[in-house]
């Protein structure tokens, strides 16, 4: 170290002298030096030990962490492959086929539509693709061979946002009822063939709404009895950027939901309008003293997303609605209904379908009701709705005013928002309630104890092809209990496609149903709906009722005098409790529900005619027969001839589940 001092500046010099002094001292004190050496060695040792401990600790901790992530806190589905997003392609290959018996559409080799079923899918098939992603946003078929379907198609095409890619193809026949308006709409989309489409022509068309045409092919039918040759259109569609395909709404939570929805599906009109989108949050007035705020609402749905959309809009607009209590139960793993549910920020549950037809519906009801009471274990009731109902603005107000009856009156089976006999011409008073021996459904309240103790344990099993509502109406289940219904229904059944439903049937029995639109209706005399009070009330009513002229024809309008606000009574023949011969005929000529007996209470029916309360008593089966003046002979109406009866039977079956 001594040689290590070539240019000695001041500081090292000082240091050096300090070092030398120290060294000198050490030299002289061997013992001390030894001590220092030992100390140094000890230091070294300690360092080593600490080091080793540190390494061990770190490793242990790291190991623990690994173990933790490996064992306790990992989700079981660790090995699920995350689906890779497809590489953003700029061009889509589209193939469209049109023929008499088969249509198909393939996008980039994936078949998005294939229909070769016989006797089905006739008309113009329309597919809407997202112009940025190429995803299918809507799939429709309009049977333009039949009347009015072209109007529906025009409505649909108008709702599709600009810029979307539209694909058209005809199966079998699509021109018979394709009117000028519809042809013009197709022409405005860029089709050159559409205005000249004729009987049994084959046609395919791909274009962008409000933009370019990607291709069109047409094959003319040579003769009335033959079809045009199959056509196959192959074309390319250029995708735009995602930015261009979206609207630029302000960035709020609501609009994020809207954006998600609008980029996936089409055909919901103004909800996806860029300029002035219709609201998806409604904030109706809250109800004062709302007794049903905490009652869960189960919406039973299938795959009718447009219906569900309409239904949820009306439900969420009803005063006193509590969106947190709403659960939508979808029978099947359909995406679009779920998209609708998410659009409104509600919770939706999908159910793996069990069994077929009516039994499938019935199993879906059971699963939904069970889940509802599991999700809301505190609830004493559940409101049960279906996806094809409009809900009155005062639906919850109606329930809030009446629900205590269901809690206190053991003789009640349900409260229903639907009056089977409440048509435009037979219902009048929004504040009036009835007790009826039938279970109308279509928006009703179920008591938890009834479900858990009675219905759930013996609910029809999947192999029984029963309708849940028919089953609930059976005496073994109903046990003589009654339902409370309003005179004017608080729900409206708008569904015209369904398991037991078609346009004609809907037109005849549902279209003219009265639906309350008045908010905050104060119900009249709710206490009189209790079991014993109701009898007093009926006797009072019958006491003041004027007996109609039984010599006239009850089907004639003149049967009821041209008055308003009076109470009239008529007596019909009803030999025993189950004799509804005359009633059915009367119901038929009054144009009310006549497919089975609904709305009766101990042989008494209550409705309105010409704004007068109109009571019908079945004599002698009804206990109210005693009110009949001895001079009056109950009216008897002949049942129709046998063959007509035979026709009526399938109609009843079809009407049961509505």
């Amino acid at each position: 170290m001594e040689e290590w001092k070539p240019n000695p500046p001041v500081k090292p010099h000082k240091k050096r002298s300090w070092y030398l002094a120290w060294k000198y001292k050490l030299m002289n004190q061997r013992a001390l030096r030894k001590l220092c050496q030992t100390g140094a060695v000890l230091f070294l040792l300690v360092t080593v030990i600490v080091n080793i401990k540190l390494i061990l600790d770190t490793r242990r901790a790291a190991y623990e962490e690994e173990e933790e992530s490996a064992q306790d806190y990992d989700d079981e589905m660790l090995n699920v492959e995350v689906p890779r997003h497809p590489v953003n392609k700029k061009v889509l290959d589209v193939e469209v086929y049109s023929s008499r018996s088969k249509v198909y559409v393939a996008v980039d080799g994936t078949t998005v539509l294939e229909d070769e079923a016989r006797e089905q899918g006739r008309g113009i098939h329309v597919i809407v693709l997202n112009q940025a992603t190429g995803h299918v946003m809507a799939k429709r078929v309009f049977d333009t061979y039949s009347p009015h379907e072209d109007e529906a198609m025009v409505l649909f095409l108008n709702m599709v946002a600009r810029g979307r890619i539209l694909i058209f193809t005809i199966k079998d026949e699509g021109s018979f009822h394709l009117k000028e308006t519809a042809k013009n709409v197709l022409k405005s989309l860029g089709s050159q063939v559409a205005p000249f489409l004729s009987w049994r022509d084959m046609w395919t068309f791909v274009g962008k709404k409000g933009g370019e045409v990607y291709g069109e092919k047409h094959a003319k039918s040579p003769a009335l009895s033959t079809w045009g040759d199959p056509v196959l259109l192959k074309t390319e569609v250029h995708l735009t950027s995602v930015e261009d395909a979206e609207c630029h709404w302000p960035d709020t939570e609501l609009n994020r939901r809207r954006k998600r929805f609008c980029s996936k599906v089409e055909g919901y009109g103004s909800v996806c309008s860029c300029k002035d989108p219709t609201p998806i949050e409604f904030n109706p007035d809250p109800l004062k003293d709302n007794k049903v705020f905490d009652v869960p609402v189960a919406v039973i749905a299938g795959n009718r997303p447009n219906y569900l959309y309409r239904m949820l809009r009306s439900l969420l607009s009803a005063q006193g609605v509590n969106p947190q209590m709403i659960t939508v139960f979808i029978d099947g793993y359909y995406e679009e209904p779920m998209d609708v549910v998410e659009l409104f920020g509600l919770s939706g549950i999908q159910h793996t379908p069990i069994s077929i037809k009516n039994a499938r519906v019935s199993q879906h009801y059971k699963a939904s009701l069970t889940a509802t009471f599991n999700l809301f274990p505190d609830a004493k009731f559940a409101v049960v709705l279906e996806e094809d109902l409009d809900i009155s603005v005062d639906f919850f107000s109606f329930l809030s005013q009446s629900i205590h009856l269901l809690e206190e009156d053991e003789s009640l089976y349900c409260i229903s928002a639907w009056n089977d006999q409440g048509y435009e011409h037979t219902a009048e008073d929004p504040s009036l309630l009835y007790r009826v021996e039938t279970m109308p459904g279509l928006g009703w309240v179920l008591r938890k104890s009834l479900y858990k103790d009675e219905l759930e344990p013996k609910w029809p099993t999947p192999e029984k092809l029963w309708d849940w509502d028919m089953w609930m109406r059976m005496p073994e289940q109903r046990k003589g209990r009654e339902c409370i219904i309003p005179d004017i229904s608080r729900s409206y059944h708008f569904g015209i496609v369904g398991l037991n439903m078609n346009g004609y049937f809907h037109e005849a029995y549902f279209k003219k149903h009265k639906f309350n639109t008045v908010p905050n209706v104060q119900l009249k005399n709710v206490e009189s709906l209790r079991k014993d009070n109701y009898e007093t009330e009926i006797h009072r009513l019958l006491g003041e009722a004027e007996v109609l002229d039984h010599s006239k024809n009850p089907c004639e309008d003149s049967f009821v005098p041209d008055t308003e606000g009076r109470v009239y009574v008529m007596f019909i023949r009803m030999e025993q409790e189950a004799d509804f011969t005359t009633w059915s005929q009367l119901a038929k000529c009054l144009h009310i529900w006549d497919l089975d007996v609904r709305g009766n209470h101990k042989g008494l029916w209550r409705l309105f005619r010409k704004k007068n309360h109109f009571l019908v008593v079945g004599v002698p089966a009804s206990p109210y027969s005693s009110k009949k003046p001895s001079s009056v002979t109950p009216i008897y109406m002949e049942p129709p001839a046998k063959e007509e009866g035979a026709v009526a039977v399938p109609a009843v079956a079809a009407a049961e589940q509505t």
Binding site: M1, E2, K23, L26, R33, C36, Q37, G39, A40, V41, F43, L44, V46, T47, V50, N51, L54, D57, T58, A61, E64, E65, E68, S69, D72, Y73, D74, D75, E76, L78, V80, V82, E253, Q324, F329, Y333, S347, G348, I349, Q350, H351, T352, I354, Q363, K366, A367, T370, A371, F373, N374, L375, F376, P377, D378, K452, D453, P457, K458, T461
Partner: protein
């Protein structure tokens, strides 16, 4: 020269090692305080900074949730433990300022709060505000067990846990859900693949290793360390409840598979029996819970739960197990008061005790008392006419909560071993004829009761 060299080398080495050692010590302390501050509290030098951090984080969190009107309550076992010691004082002075930070400054990694799901609206605004306040947060979602059942339903995943992290402290918010059976449930904490495994030391969380079941707690608003917070009214009983709160779901998927193989009996008799068995079980649970006697589903009832998530319709009775250490003389009068007369009593408290009560129409409630040995647990059986004794052996087990026929009840956590011990490896196959003396695979002859004891150990009413 050489000597000097050696000395210099030594001195230099010592110096470096000294520096190194210091560095190591610092690092070690830092590392440990981050890892588990509590365990190594002796190396805490100036901890006051850390302490007040915890308090501040809790205060900020409470501010956050109260600004969104979300009612949470404190369930942190560490703090509740400290609070419980001073509970009288805290209760009596709900508003008094506290002189020192005694509870929320205690060393720990987390502070745990509970949130009742139905009391908040899943408002996303909460998380925006949290981020603005500097919190990092993590949400753990999973499937909703309330949708599990014989029907195959799938809904949106529900939030089970939230973790809010600020500085070196984290808040663990456990979401509780109401279940049918009138109890609260919280889910397990499971990280999904993409989640940050190092977000917090998950292993040290007090909740989340298993799902748990709790009674609905009564809450008390108190002020501790100058923070207003809701706590369970009785912290010690909450802590006791927490120590064995583990919850098992019924195996619905397996039950569905079972019913595929052996379709359910939907006859009127089966429906009726199930209804009676359910109400008997509800009555028995009410009676035993009122006495504070812990019981579990045993034998056929346990098999029914495990195999088919329901009462076995042909089982004809309801079976419960009770540890003999929990035996109370009040049991018999309590059941009689509840309208269930004693049908027979076999054995005695010291040996092979078994009680049987008569429920509505032939449905019988059997209560077997279990005796714990070093390596197994057993219960006894007695044949009335011969005085023969039997012994049923089970491997040791602990108790878990489950939900059965809308009731929160105990079952052995090690259910499979329990059921297999009782019914053998073929337990999955329904057997309609069952002889309790020979059919169980764990039965052993256990001698005969001495004749002079018969009056006492074989009582039939």
């Amino acid at each position: 020269m050489q000597k000097i060299n050696r000395n210099v080398v030594l001195a230099l080495l010592s110096l470096t090692s000294l520096v190194f050692l210091l560095f190591q010590l610092c690092y070690y302390k830092f590392y440990l305080s981050q890892k588990n501050g509590a365990a190594f509290s002796k190396v805490r030098g100036s901890q006051s900074g850390q302490d007040s951090t915890r308090w501040h984080v809790v205060r900020k969190f409470l501010g956050l949730i109260s600004s969104h009107n979300i009612p949470v309550y404190l369930i942190d076992p560490l703090i509740l433990g400290l609070v419980d010691k001073d509970i009288e004082q805290i209760r009596s002075s709900p508003d008094g300022p506290s002189p020192e930070c005694k509870y929320f400054c205690a060393p720990r990694d987390f502070t745990t709060f509970a949130l009742l799901d139905k009391t908040w609206k899943h408002d996303v605004g909460l998380f925006r505000t949290a981020e603005k306040m500097g919190f990092q947060w993590l949400k753990i979602i999973n499937k909703d067990p309330r949708l599990d059942g014989m029907d195959d339903l799938s809904g949106m995943e529900i939030p089970l846990h939230y973790i809010f992290k600020l500085a070196s402290h984290a808040i663990h918010l456990v979401v509780f859900y109401e279940r049918s059976g009138n109890f609260l449930w919280h889910g397990p904490l499971r990280l999904k693949q993409h989640m940050d495994r190092k977000f917090v030391p998950f292993r040290k969380l007090h909740f989340g290793r298993y799902p748990g079941a709790y009674e609905k707690p009564e809450l008390l608003l108190v002020s501790i360390d100058d923070l207003k917070v809701q706590i369970p009214k009785n912290p010690s009983s909450f802590l006791e409840e927490m120590s064995h709160s583990r919850f098992l779901e019924c195996r619905y998927r397996e039950a569905r598979a079972f019913f595929q193989l052996y379709p359910d009996d939907a006859s009127v008799d089966a429906v009726e029996f199930r209804k009676k068995a359910k109400s008997l079980l509800h009555l028995a649970a009410l009676t035993l819970n009122n006495l504070g006697v812990k019981f579990w589903l045993s034998s056929g009832t346990c098999l029914g739960w495990y195999r088919q998530c329901n009462v076995i319709p042909h089982s004809k009775d309801v079976d419960l197990g009770i540890f003999i250490r929990d035996y109370k003389a009040d049991i018999i009068p309590a059941f009689q008061k509840a309208g269930l007369p004693l049908k027979h009593k076999f054995g005695k408290v010291e040996d092979s005790l078994e009680l049987s009560f008569q429920g509505e129409d032939d449905v019988k409630l059997d209560i077997f008392f279990f005796y714990e040995e070093d390596d197994h647990i057993w219960n006894g059986g007695t044949q009335a006419k011969s005085g023969k004794k039997f012994k049923y052996l089970f491997p040791k087990f602990t108790l878990c909560w489950t939900e059965f026929v809308e009731l929160k009840v105990h079952v052995p956590c090690e259910t499979l071993q329990y059921v297999e011990a009782n019914y053998g490896p073929e337990w999955k196959v329904p057997v309609k004829t069952w002889d309790w003396k020979s059919s169980p695979s764990n039965v052993q002859d256990n001698g005969v009761w001495p004749i002079d004891e018969w009056d006492n150990v074989i009582q039939i009413y």
